[in-house]
C-alpha cells in the first residue's frame, strides 16, 4: 500500500509540476544586458561585465562566446528585446553584416577597444623561430608559386627546405579552425602578406581578387597544418609536449605562458606588448564591440556598461584589461573613442 501510493504520488506530483511550469512561461522585461560574439574579446568583455556587476546596482551582463560571425548574425537579426544588446568582434563589421543590420532597423555604435597580436610560438626547449611573412606563407599555403612562377602543390616538408637558416624539423603547425576569427585575421595578415611578396601573385591580385584570395587564404591540408580546435590552452599543452611543433594563437596565451613558450620573430619583430601596442608587429588586429542603439533606453545599464568599458581603469595602460592581455589603444585614440562611444555615435559605412 505504501509503495503504491508513493508511486502514485510521484507521478501525480511530477505531472502537476510540469503543467504549472509550462504555464509559467514568462513575459517580463529583460533586466540584464546580453552580450554575444568573438571568443577573443570574451575574456575582456567578461572582465568588464563582472566589475560592472560588482560595483554597480545593475545585474551582471550575460556574455556568450559565439564567435564574431555568429555574434553578428544574432545581433543583426532584429531590434526586438530577444536579440542581444552588444556584440563583440575580433574584426571590423563587414559591409554585408552592416547592411543586414540596417535593413532590420538597427542603428549601431562602434567601439574599438584595443589590439591583439597573433603569435606563432614554440616550446622554450626548442630554438626560437625567426620567420618572414613569405616564409610563413610558403610553410602553410596549400599552393605556392613554383620555380617557373606557376602554382604548384606545397612541396615543403621541413622548415630548412624553405630557408636553410631554419631548423631541419618537420613543418608541424597547430592552429585554429576556419570558424575562428583568429584564423581569419591570421590568414589575412600573415598569409596574404606573404603571398603579396611574389610578383606573380601580386599581379593575380590586381586582375582577379577572388582567385588571389583562394590562393592566399587556403591552408594546406596534407597534415602540416593541424586544426587544433578553438581551445588555445590545448595548443599550449601540445606545444609543451612536442617541441618540434609550432602553434598559432592570441598574444594573451603567450603572455600567460611566457615561462613555457616563446613567440617567433616575424619580419624581424618579436611579439611583445610594446611592439604590438606600437603597431610594429605585423600580425596584429583591432578588437571591437558594437552596441544596439535601440536597446539603450530599453535595457537598463547599457550606457553605464559602455562607460565602464571605456574607463581608463579598464582599458587604460594600467587597467585591469591589460592584466587580461588586452593591448590598449594610444591615449589620444582612447579619448576620441570614449567620447564617441559615450555619445552613442552612429556607425555608417
Amino acid at each position: 500500500m505504501i509503495k503504491q501510493s508513493l508511486a502514485m504520488a510521484v507521478v501525480a506530483g511530477a505531472t502537476l509540476a510540469s503543467v504549472t511550469m509550462a504555464a509559467a512561461i514568462p513575459a517580463q522585461a529583460r533586466e540584464q544586458i546580453r552580450i554575444v560574439g568573438s571568443s577573443t574579446v570574451f575574456p575582456f568583455s567578461t572582465a568588464v561585465a563582472e566589475n560592472f556587476g560588482k560595483t554597480t546596482n545593475f545585474k551582471t551582463p550575460v556574455v556568450e562566446s559565439t564567435g564574431t560571425g555568429g555574434g553578428m548574425k544574432l545581433f543583426c537579426a532584429g531590434a526586438g528585446e530577444d536579440t542581444p544588446d552588444i556584440t563583440n568582434a575580433s574584426r571590423r563589421i563587414k559591409k554585408s553584416e552592416y547592411e543586414t543590420c540596417t535593413k532590420n532597423g538597427i542603428e549601431i555604435t562602434e567601439v574599438k577597444i584595443g589590439f591583439d597580436g597573433i603569435v606563432l610560438a614554440n616550446a622554450k626547449s626548442a630554438k626560437r623561430l625567426t620567420l618572414s611573412k613569405q616564409e610563413i606563407y610558403l610553410a602553410l599555403a596549400k599552393q605556392v608559386p613554383g620555380p617557373d612562377g606557376k602554382l604548384i602543390d606545397n612541396p615543403y616538408h621541413t622548415w630548412n627546405q624553405i630557408n636553410p637558416a631554419l631548423p631541419a624539423t618537420k613543418i608541424e603547425v597547430l592552429g585554429p579552425p576556419p570558424t575562428s576569427g583568429t584564423r581569419d585575421a591570421f590568414v589575412e595578415l600573415a598569409m596574404e602578406g606573404g603571398a603579396r611578396t611574389f610578383d606573380t601573385l601580386k599581379a593575380l591580385k590586381k586582375e582577379n581578387k577572388k582567385a588571389f584570395k583562394a590562393v592566399a587564404h587556403t591552408l594546406r591540408e596534407d597534415g602540416a597544418y593541424i586544426e587544433a580546435g578553438e581551445n588555445d590552452n590545448l595548443i599550449v599543452q601540445k606545444l609543451e609536449a612536442n617541441p618540434k611543433a609550432v602553434g598559432i594563437f592570441g598574444f594573451s596565451f603567450l603572455d600567460q605562458n611566457a615561462d613555457k613558450l616563446q613567440g617567433a620573430i616575424v619580419d624581424g619583430i618579436e611579439p611583445t606588448f610594446e611592439k604590438i601596442a606600437g603597431g610594429d608587429y605585423g600580425v596584429s588586429r583591432s578588437l571591437y564591440f558594437y552596441v544596439k542603439q535601440q536597446h539603450v533606453d530599453q535595457v537598463p545599464g547599457i550606457k553605464e556598461f559602455v562607460a565602464e568599458f571605456t574607463n581608463d581603469r579598464a582599458w587604460g595602460e594600467d587597467g585591469y584589461l591589460v592584466d587580461k592581455g588586452l593591448i590598449p589603444l594610444p591615449a589620444a585614440d582612447r579619448k576620441a573613442m570614449r567620447d564617441a562611444a559615450n555619445g552613442m555615435a552612429s556607425l555608417s559605412m
Partner: protein, 434 residues
C-alpha cells in the same frame, strides 16, 4: 540426409583426439587472456585519467592567503558618517587592502614597485571586505588581522607551478615580488588554506574568486525541469504502450520511432530547442526552463525504454490474479504492475538524468554556454550548468584555471557517481525477482 547422419558419427572421434583437445584448451586460455587484458587496459586508462585529473585538480581546493592588518578607515568607507547602505556599498574597499600592504612594506616607495605590490593580493579583496562591513557596520574604525586572498599569479607561484629559477622575464611573479613573498612566508603571514569560495561563488574572470555554486544551482534548476517533464511523460507513454495499447502497425511505428529518438545525437535537440522554444514560443535565452525542456526531449525516450523493460518484467500471473479478483484494468496497472516495476523505472530515470547532467552540446544552441556571474534564482534567470562551466574554464588563458577545470570535473564526477550509486541502491533495495 546421409550427410547429416554421418557427421555426428565422425565428429566425436575427431574432437576427442588429444591434439584437438589441446588446441581447444589453448583457444580457451587465449580467450581468457584477451578478456583479462581488455579489463586491465580499461582499468589502467581509467586510473590514469582519474589520477591525472585528481592530481591537477587537488590544488584548486586550496588557496594562498596573506594576513594583513586592515584598518577600516571611516574616511574611505563612509566620509559623511551616515552609515547609509548605498554609501557603504559603493566605497572603494580595495584601497583598504592596498594601504594595509603598504604599511606592511613601508620600504616600498617607488610608484611602479607600489603597483607591483598591490598585485600580490586578489583584485576581489575589496569585495570581500565590503561583504564584512555590510554585514557588521561596527567594524568601521577598527583594525584587525584578516586573511586576504592572494592573486592567482602568486597562488600559482606558491603552489610551485612556476619555476623559481626561470628568467625573470618569463615569470609572471617578478624578483621583487618574490622578495616580498619570502618576507611574508618568513613571518608566517602567508598560508594556504581550504578554499570555500570554490563551492560558494559563481563564475569569475579572476581564478581565485571563481566557484562552481552558480553552475550547480543552474544544473539543479535545469534537471528539475527535465525530471518533472520527462518522468511523467515517459512513464505514462510506457504504461499505455505496454499495458493498454492494441498491437497494430501504429503502435509498432511509435515504438520504432521511440527507439530511434533515443539514439539521436544531442546537438539535434539543441537545434530543435532553438527553433521551437526560442524562435516560435519566444522563451528567454540561457534560461534553465528551456535547457530543461531540451534535455527532457533527449531523456524521455531513455525513460520510456527503461520503463517498458521494467513493466514487461512483471510476471503476467500478477495481472491475472488481480483481474481474477475483479480489479479493473486501470486498478491492475496502478495498484500492482506499476509499483512492482517502479525500481526499474527509477533506475532508468536516474541514469537518464545522469546523462542529462553531463550534456553541453544541446545547451550551446540555446545560449546556456555563457559567462554568468549572478546565481540564478528562478527557472527564467540566465544560468549555466556544470559541464559548461568546465568547458568555459578549460578555454580561459589564466594558468590557474587549469587546476579549477580539473577540480570542477572532480565535482561533476562525484555527482555522477552519487546518482549512479542511488540507482544501484534503489535496485538492490526494492527490486523483486521472480
Amino acid at each position: 540426409m546421409t550427410d547429416t547422419t554421418a557427421t555426428p558419427l565422425t565428429r566425436p572421434q575427431r574432437g576427442s583426439s588429444p591434439r584437438l583437445l589441446r588446441q581447444r584448451h589453448a583457444a580457451e586460455r587465449r580467450f581468457r587472456i584477451y578478456g583479462i587484458s581488455a579489463i586491465v587496459i580499461a582499468a589502467v586508462v581509467l586510473v590514469a585519467l582519474l589520477g591525472s585529473i585528481a592530481n591537477r585538480g587537488a590544488s584548486a581546493f586550496f588557496q594562498t592567503e596573506i594576513a594583513l592588518d586592515i584598518y577600516f578607515d571611516p574616511e574611505v568607507i563612509d566620509p559623511e558618517g551616515t552609515r547609509a547602505p548605498d554609501a557603504l556599498y559603493s566605497a572603494n574597499y580595495q584601497t583598504l587592502a592596498k594601504r594595509a600592504l603598504a604599511t606592511r612594506f613601508p620600504e616600498v616607495t617607488d610608484r611602479r614597485a607600489k603597483r607591483a605590490l598591490t598585485r600580490l593580493i586578489s583584485s576581489g579583496a575589496g569585495f570581500e571586505l565590503r561583504g564584512m562591513v555590510l554585514a557588521t557596520p561596527a567594524l568601521i574604525g577598527t583594525t584587525a588581522r584578516y586573511w586576504i586572498k592572494s592573486s592567482d599569479d602568486v597562488d600559482s607561484f606558491v603552489k610551485n607551478n612556476v619555476a623559481r629559477d626561470a628568467p625573470e622575464s618569463d615569470r609572471r611573479v617578478k624578483d621583487n615580488e618574490i622578495v616580498w613573498l619570502d618576507a611574508l612566508i618568513a613571518s608566517g603571514d602567508l598560508g594556504t588554506r581550504f578554499d570555500t569560495t570554490f563551492f560558494t561563488a559563481s563564475d569569475s574572470r579572476e581564478p581565485e574568486q571563481a566557484g562552481i555554486w552558480g553552475a550547480v544551482v543552474g544544473s539543479f534548476l535545469t534537471l528539475v525541469v527535465t525530471l518533472s517533464l520527462s518522468f511523467p511523460i515517459g512513464v505514462l507513454a510506457a504504461l499505455y504502450l505496454e499495458e493498454f495499447a492494441p498491437k497494430n502497425r501504429w503502435t509498432d511505428l511509435i515504438e520504432v520511432n521511440i527507439n530511434n529518438l533515443a539514439a539521436v545525437p544531442s546537438i539535434v535537440f539543441g537545434l530543435l530547442g532553438l527553433a521551437m522554444f526560442l524562435s516560435i514560443f519566444g522563451m528567454p535565452r540561457s534560461a534553465p526552463i528551456v535547457g530543461g525542456l531540451v534535455l527532457a526531449l533527449m531523456t524521455f525516450p531513455t525513460i520510456i525504454i527503461a520503463a517498458r523493460a521494467a513493466l514487461t518484467a512483471v510476471p503476467p500471473s500478477v495481472r491475472e490474479a488481480a483481474l481474477a479478483v475483479g480489479a479493473s484494468k486501470l486498478q491492475v496497472t496502478l495498484h500492482h504492475v506499476l509499483p512492482l516495476a517502479m525500481p526499474g523505472v527509477m533506475t532508468g530515470t536516474i541514469i537518464g538524468m545522469a546523462r542529462a547532467l553531463g550534456e553541453t552540446a544541446p545547451l550551446l544552441m540555446i545560449g546556456m554556454v555563457a559567462f554568468i556571474v549572478d546565481i540564478p534564482g528562478s527557472f527564467t534567470d540566465p544560468a549555466t550548468v556544470l559541464p559548461v562551466q568546465i568547458y568555459l574554464w578549460a578555454d580561459s588563458p589564466e594558468r590557474a584555471f587549469v587546476a579549477k577545470t580539473s577540480a570542477a570535473i572532480l565535482v561533476l564526477l562525484a555527482f555522477l557517481v552519487a546518482m549512479n550509486a542511488l540507482a544501484v541502491i534503489l535496485r538492490r533495495r526494492f527490486e523483486r525477482r521472480w
